[in-house]
Amino acid sequence: MRQVLTIITLGLLLLTGCGSKQPAGREITFWAYAPGDQVRTQQVEALVNKYNQEHPGIRVKIFFVPKDDFNTKINTSIAVGANPDCSYLDSGLVSRFAKDNILFCLDDFVNGGDLDLKDFYPGAMKMVKYDQKYYGIPLNQTCIALFYNKELIKKVPTTWDELLQTAKEVYVPGKVAAFAVPKGDGYGGWMFPAFVASAGGAMLNDSETKAIFNQPPGLAAMDLWAQLLLYSPRLITDSANAFELGRVAMVLNGPWAIEGIKTNFPKLKYGIALIPKKVQYATNIGGESLVIYQNAKDPPAVWDFIRYLMLDENQVVMSEISGNFPVKKTLIDHPQFKDDPDKRMFMDQIQYAVSKPTIESWTKINDEIIAKAIDEALNKRLSVAEAFNKAAKDCDAILAEEKQ
């Protein structure tokens, strides 16, 4: 019996012993989204290894976390104080993390002239600010644009009127749907603000204290979707790969869709265009930023690493592996983007990006209030105005409580 106990005790000692190994030199832990494939993973690893070789005193240790699990894991790690020094973070979450006082303020570094902010797209920079201070550096950005089938669409619509006209012309009942109209769910709610902005409006007022999506621009945007739906039966648009198989003429999608189309549907003749406008071009914006956590052991060292990743050549790699685009305007002429019409078009579209509200409960308002109103209006349960006025009222109630 005593032997058994001894073995167990020894075993426990071994276990604890493994955990207490101390690394040599300064170590920076860095969590990144796991790239989609082996080649891209190696590209990132190569970048990190190069940095480590150039900086003998510092060792950046990179951990790849799958994108779908990333937010959950980073939250959990913060909850138990085991978070990395530096990580990717969905740009939309930067302000919320900053509000919770867990991010290291980057103002001193940024204002120290280490990075030329004029090079960056303003839309991306706006997202990483909280309380007028910088808490993150945008790493890549993305948006949606209009994908269209070149065989079905001869003249690409540029305005809402042309879009509706094209939709009427291209629609073949039972065969071809005009436009994959987004639905009243979290995803549709995410795309909707692009149309409101195109009509000259916004979802919330500037101080984010009141809903204004029930004003004419918002209603016009909703009306457009409802009218497009007349030429775009769900029975067609809900089918798998409907656009790729030529059953839907136009669809909203992001740059992440390009590779899948090229690999799996090489015969599809598609084009990408700016989302048609009412009074101005607009799109939404997403992407990832780099942040330093407040409990990081050596913030200046981490900042040095971030600066390294922001160098032009490294920026190209880092945005390429995510399927997104660089945040520096100067890279628009880089051959990687200049010579590729698809990417070029997204670089054009992203200039018209409007950032989404930064308030904490925006995701909830998006999913539960705006999405619902879109559903009610699209499915004619309520008139557009009724649905949106009701939603604005619910939204205002939540905003009022959050501002308290």
């Binding site: 019996m1 005593r2 058994v4 937010n71 959950t72 939250n75 959990t76 913060i78 909850a79 919320r96 993390f97 919770d100 006082n101 867990i102 639905k183 009243g184 769910d185 979290g186 995803y187 769900r234 029975l235 067609i236 809900d238 089918s239 798998a240 409907a242 059953r247 409960s361 995701t363 909830k364 999913d367 539960e368 209030i369 619902k372 559903d375 499915n379 619910d394 109630a397 939540i398 409580e401």
Partner: protein, 301 residues
């Protein structure tokens, strides 16, 4: 010196016993018991996982139960879950029983069929859901192609508010049937053959035998399956998450309770509120199970 406690045989056996159950006990304590207790505490706090939780008393519970403006989907998601249970459980038990009776009728290749019906059960819910997504596809899906063969109009199974939930329930019935079948089969094999012989001598036909012998003697098994299937259905999540891309659409017609809970916790970072939701579900399941224990016949007289 020899430790006297270890020489006592009774104590020594006791320790050996505990050592045998220790792995499970440690696992249970760390991964089940402690989280249950801690989450009960968190259900009374406002906590986004990033900053320290602060005590808000019964606020989470009050918001969920009474504030439809802030929690527009609490009651609707519970209702969707109940609808799902009504669609899923009776059909699931019936199909399992039919399969078990079929396999119990001394057919050739019993084990082969057992395996076939059981395979969906051991396949991951995600893989099954992806497969069914193709079956239900409005244009290229097998089901609509099949209907077209009889000149019936196509349906948008997963994207029509009237068919989405039944379609998902049908998939779950199919996936769970094998499990119920094995349990029923074990119950059927346990019924003594003499009872049927006696009934036959008394002139009972097959239907009377089934109704008066098979069904009553299966009561304990049926009861077990009823309880576990209902609890499982209350917690349905992964199939719906995959089939609706986590959105519970169309128009929230498949937005079940756990999907709502998941959103509160991992999309809106309201972990305290999500803990409160899990405790409310716990109480609901507790009450429903208690009612079943009290009113559903379990034994044969």
């Amino acid at each position: 010196m020899k430790l006297s406690v270890f020489s006592n045989r009774k104590v020594r056996d006791g320790i050996t016993g505990y050592l045998f159950v220790m792995p499970l006990l440690v696992y249970f304590t760390i991964f089940v018991l402690i989280p249950i207790i801690i989450s009960f505490y968190y259900s009374f706090t406002d906590w986004n996982m990033r900053s320290a939780p602060h005590w808000t008393g019964l606020k989470n519970y009050a918001e969920l139960l009474f504030n439809a403006q802030k929690q527009p989907y609490f009651w609707p998601s519970l209702l969707v879950t109940v609808k799902y249970i009504v669609l899923r459980v009776p059909a699931g038990l019936a199909l399992s029983l039919i399969l078990a009776l079929f396999l119990n009728s001394r057919i050739k290749g019993e084990n082969f069929f057992k395996l076939c019906y059981f395979i969906p059960m051991i396949t991951s819910a995600i893989a099954v859901a992806v497969l069914w997504k193709w079956l239900y596809d409005p244009i290229i899906g097998f089901i609509n192609q099949f209907l077209a063969g009889f000149s019936l109009p196509p349906k948008n199974w997963l994207n029509d508010t009237s068919t989405a939930l039944p379609s998902i329930a049908a998939m779950s019935v199919w996936q769970g049937a094998g499990y119920g079948m094995i349990i029923f089969l074990a119950g059927l094999k346990g019924i003594p053959e003499e009872l049927y012989e006696a009934a036959r001598i008394d002139g009972a036909n097959a239907w009377q035998q089934f109704w008066n012998i098979t069904l009553p003697l299966l009561r304990p098994v049926t009861f077990f399956l009823l309880i576990t299937t209902i609890i499982g259905s209350f917690q349905v999540f992964d199939q719906i998450y995959v089939l609706t891309s986590g959105l519970g659409g169309p128009e929230h017609s498949t937005f079940v309770y756990i999907l709502n809970l998941y959103n509160q916790a991992f999309r809106y970072y309201r972990m305290g509120l999500a803990c409160a939701m899990s405790y409310i579900l716990f109480v609901i399941i507790l009450i429903i199970t208690w009612v079943q224990f009290k009113y559903v016949p379990q034994e044969v007289e």
